[in-house]
Amino acid sequence: MAIKDIFQAVLTFDEARVPDLVRAELEAGTEVEAVLNQGLIGAMDEVGRKFTEGDLFVPEMLLAAQTMKAGLELLRPLLADSDTKPKGTVVIGTVKGDLHDIGKNLVSMMLEGAGFKVVDLGVDVDADKFIEAARTNQAELVALSALLTTTMPAMGDIVAMLKEHGAGTKSMVGGAPVTQDFAEQIGADGYAQDAPGAVELARSLIRA
């Protein structure tokens, strides 16, 4: 067994096998952080790259994220005891008046797969709830999703509230009608066109 087997199992969506591989690796004395970063998160980075290049499709990316999560669940109690911290905390949700969540769920899973702690508020979320969740969880980033042009203005309201009350919390936006121009217009810190893009953006915004 080796970390590369865990990596490969995530890439081939072998959800049944990943927990056994992770367990075996831990029993062999491999550091938790190594299993996490090189095995699981590393595999998801490769999944994101393949998706961006068109080699993997959306359902496959979702399945890979699910597979990764099966391994991550075994590591969670150990991570809590160790010095290994999440890469950051992201509050995510679909804005008020909008019930669409497929894209948001995909981003949420990919962010988890990349090692972020994700607080998913669901759909039709009031602006106040985003602010409160960011404060309570000490989130570095709030990610806003909308599919309807009529609900996009709520993103502007939330971004403005974050700037006023958010203690430095950054914002990123996405969704089918959302554009880079719109993100700049409302003062969001970033716009991501797809889930792997959201992961890269989250990494750069939280590092900065």
């Binding site: 068109g54 008046g97 995909l106 042009t149 009529t150 203005p153 009608p177």
Partner: protein
């Protein structure tokens, strides 16, 4: 009229699918947002309602009764009699409408993309007044109106600038009242509106199998007022619906029939049009597609099935493209969509002028679509096998090796052919000498000509002021 439309399905397949849909609604049902009045109406009518969960299941005899009651013909009214629409179209072809809800605009002079404005909407209406094949129009999403009352502002602009039937897509439950008030004011009262419904309403499911409070409210109010309801299901294969189109069709039809049932329960005989607006999902990006071969064939399957199984008038995209530009891809996709939908027997072809999966419109594309619709309706007119059409006499008279050009028969029919406005038929040499303009340049010139003329469908000033007062009331209440 044509003898039959193109169909994927034989009678046994139609029956089997019909059985699946009714069984689905009987056993599994749909979920309604808490809307006490609608849930009570459905329970009183005989549906199996669980008020706590909002789940509603429809026993088959009840559904069959509702389907029997639902009218198979109806009228979409208009300010002027010549624009009133009998559904299905009496000549056996179809009606067409422009795109709805788009927020992007391709400027007809500069080709630049920008957001739709209220002034653009007024110009859009003015243009459509002059396009004979665009029988009715919905509003676009204006960027310069207050968001909370954008639909109210938009409908007022259309009512002031067009005398064709208007299709209304409310953006919130709170605006429904104002939208109906605007139409009632122009109609001259509720009774007049019932007799001549100037507007019809969009109600949508939240696929899969759920209904929001706003759409339940739309169904309730529209059914009571006798306003035709376009019952829309917008499933995305592999996303909000199964990945295979027959499964998508079951889901979409079930959601539409649930809306038919609700309307009939509220007001027996309420007119409902079935709108299975089928999308495929690009599995590389998760993006919804309206003009992929999967979306087109799925939509065709849905329409063919619903017409054959339930006899309801049908409405779907009959134009549009997934391309962001009005280019060769746009033309190819929409030509395929228009022809296939028309051949499948679709009663209303929607989406004229739209691009980028219905998020953007182009006035120039709209004008080209107008022409393509005219050609498609010609395709759907069919042939009479009369003596004159069989041309037996002239066939027999004309000797081998001779020609038909100077025959009386040819003279009688030499002007029958469809004459396009902007599609040309000249040879390259003539084009280089005399025309020198491509399609878009020719269309742009025609657009300028239309826009330079007065809009003769403008509402009288006193009525326009009445609409302004309603809009101001909406702003005060909705934008507070």
């Amino acid at each position: 009229m044509i003898a039959s439309h193109f169909t994927y399905l034989d009678q046994s397949q139609i029956a089997a699918l019909r059985d699946k849909v009714l069984e689905f609604l009987k056993q599994h049902g749909v979920k309604l947002d808490p809307h006490q009045e609608m849930l009570e109406i459905l329970a009183d009518a005989g549906a199996r309602v669980d008020s706590a969960s909002g789940m509603v299941r429809f026993p088959r005899p009840l559904l069959e009764d509702f389907l029997q009651q639902a009218p198979k013909t109806m009228t979409l009214g208009a300010r002027t009699p010549q624009h009133r629409l009998q559904l299905p179209r009496p000549d056996g072809t179809f009606y067409a409408r422009s795109g709805t809800g788009s927020h992007g605009w391709i400027d007809p002079e500069t080709d630049y993309y920008r957001k739709v404005s209220l002034e653009d909407l007024a110009n859009w209406a003015k243009l459509i007044n002059r396009l004979d094949e665009i029988s009715f129009l919905p509003f676009l999403f204006p960027d310069d109106a207050p968001t909370a009352s954008a639909d109210v502002h938009a409908l007022a602009v259309l009512l002031k600038n067009s005398d064709k039937h208007l299709w209304v897509q409310p953006y919130s439950a709170q605006s429904v009242e104002y939208l109906i008030r605007l139409a009632t004011a122009v109609a001259g009262g509720e009774d007049s509106l019932r007799e001549n419904p100037l507007i019809s309403m969009i109600a949508c499911s939240l696929t899969p199998r759920a209904f929001k409070h706003m759409d339940l409210e739309i169904i309730l109010r529209s059914a009571r007022l006798g306003l035709p309801i376009h019952a829309c299901s917008l499933p995305g294969a592999g996303g909000t619906a199964p990945a295979t189109m027959p499964g998508v069709v079951i889901l979409a039809t079930a959601e539409i029939l649930a809306m038919v049932a609700m309307a009939q329960a509220v007001a027996p005989g309420a007119p409902v049009i079935a709108c299975p607006i089928i999308f495929s999902t690009d599995m590389k990006t998760g993006r919804s597609l309206q003009a992929s071969v999967e979306a087109i064939s799925g939509a065709a399957l849905a329409i063919q099935f619903i017409k054959a199984a339930f006899g309801l008038p049908t409405h779907n995209y009959g134009s549009g493209s997934d391309a962001p530009l009005p280019d060769g891809q746009s033309m190819s996709e929409r030509a395929m969509l228009t022809t296939f939908m028309a051949a499948s027997g679709l009663d209303i072809l929607g989406g004229a002028g739209q691009l980028e999966v219905a998020t953007t419109v182009s006035p120039l594309q709209l004008m080209v679509d107008n022409e393509v619709f005219a050609m498609a309706r010609h395709l759907m007119t069919g042939f009479e096998l009369s003596d004159d059409q069989l041309a037996w006499e002239v066939l027999v008279e004309t000797e081998p090796g001779q020609h038909f050009l100077t025959s009386r028969h040819t003279l009688m029919h030499c002007r029958d052919a469809f004459t396009p406005h902007n599609f040309i038929r000249c040879a390259r040499g003539s084009w280089e000498r005399e025309v020198q303009k491509d399609l878009w340049q020719r269309v742009r010139e025609q657009h300028r000509d239309i826009m330079s003329q007065e809009n003769t469908a403008r509402l009288p000033q006193d009525q326009a002021q009445e609409l302004d007062a309603i809009v101001q009331g909406a702003d005060r209440r909705l934008c507070a």
